[in-house]
């Protein structure tokens, strides 16, 4: 599975976003299930799935799929 597919799977599992609706523009404002607790779940799931360490200032900045992809790219994934 490539990174995009792994991200889609995470978003389906955590936020119930169907794969067809997955896009870079998803944010907490557009995804109803993206609440404070789900954000923490996403944070731990990303660390586990991609075997990375996310710093607290990065956690706060993970406010869209695009930003998550940018973070993964900075960490050498994608």
């Amino acid at each position: 599975m490539n990174t995009d597919d792994r991200m889609k799977a995470l978003f389906r599992e955590i936020f119930q976003v169907p794969e067809k609706d997955f896009c870079d523009d998803l944010t907490p404002d557009t995804v109803r299930e993206w609440d404070s607790v789900s954000h923490l779940v996403l944070f731990t799931a990303l660390e586990k799935e991609f075997r990375i360490q996310i710093r607290s200032e990065e956690l706060i900045d993970l406010t869209s799929v695009r930003k998550i992809k940018d973070l993964l790219a900075r960490k050498g994934i994608m």
């Binding site: 404070s36 789900s38 607290s56």
Partner: protein
């Protein structure tokens, strides 16, 4: 397009999207304009430690409110400092301040003696070990980033170890907070509905049965 047909179209769009809460909110807002005030809140409790795993985030600090902080919190929340001082001095309530990376990110109030919900005209004595969490606020630019979830998980974890039971009330329109609390481990114990007709008649529902559930 007339105002009525615009509203009808909006309503149909909401029905198509199955946004029933949005429809309810729109109806409540419309009724308010003609003097019918409706307030609906759900009440949740949590007294177990089957919570989400503890998550450590560096730079996340919670500390108790100091009397010197009241002016800062008043400015932060837009509330009058006398109101906040009364909570501390008269009602013996506590406030916890949430800091993230050395900056004030939010706060949450804790009541131990009386649960007061002014918007529902509801006030009841809390039984032993009950803690009512209310008036929590996270800075706009930090909302939905996990800080309130983290605060609740840590607070409840610590409190449950001391046999505390936590209560919380959430406005029916606040979907994200309700979702977050359910995920943390809160369970719904009741719904209070207050309907005021032109400030003359008050209809209340759920009030009597609720207090039996947390006493």
């Amino acid at each position: 397009m007339s105002n009525l047909s615009r509203r009808m179209r909006t309503c149909l769009a909401l029905v198509r999207r199955r946004s029933y809460l949005d429809i309810l909110e729109a109806i409540i807002a419309s009724l308010k304009r003609i003097g019918i005030f409706i307030q609906i809140s759900e009440f949740f409790t949590c007294d177990h430690d089957r919570l989400s795993p503890d998550i450590r985030i560096s730079g996340f600090i919670v500390r108790d409110l100091h009397p010197d902080d009241i002016e800062t919190i008043a400015a932060f929340s837009g509330k009058r400092s006398e109101v906040l001082r009364e909570r501390v001095e008269k009602f013996k309530e506590e406030c916890q301040l949430i800091y993230f990376q050395d900056k004030l990110a939010g706060y949450c109030w804790l009541a131990f003696e009386t649960m007061r919900v002014p918007e529902l005209e509801y006030e009841e004595k809390l039984g032993d070990n009950n803690v009512y969490l209310y008036d929590s606020l996270i800075r706009d630019d930090l909302r939905n980033r996990g800080l309130l979830g983290l605060y609740l998980i840590k607070t409840i974890r610590n409190g449950v170890a001391q046999h505390k039971r936590f209560l919380i009330s959430i406005d029916i329109s606040n979907y994200k907070s309700r979702q977050a609390c359910t995920k943390i481990g809160f369970t719904k114990i009741g719904t209070l509905i207050l309907i005021k007709l032109w400030s003359l008649v008050r209809l209340k529902s759920g009030y009597r049965s609720l207090k039996e559930k947390y006493r």
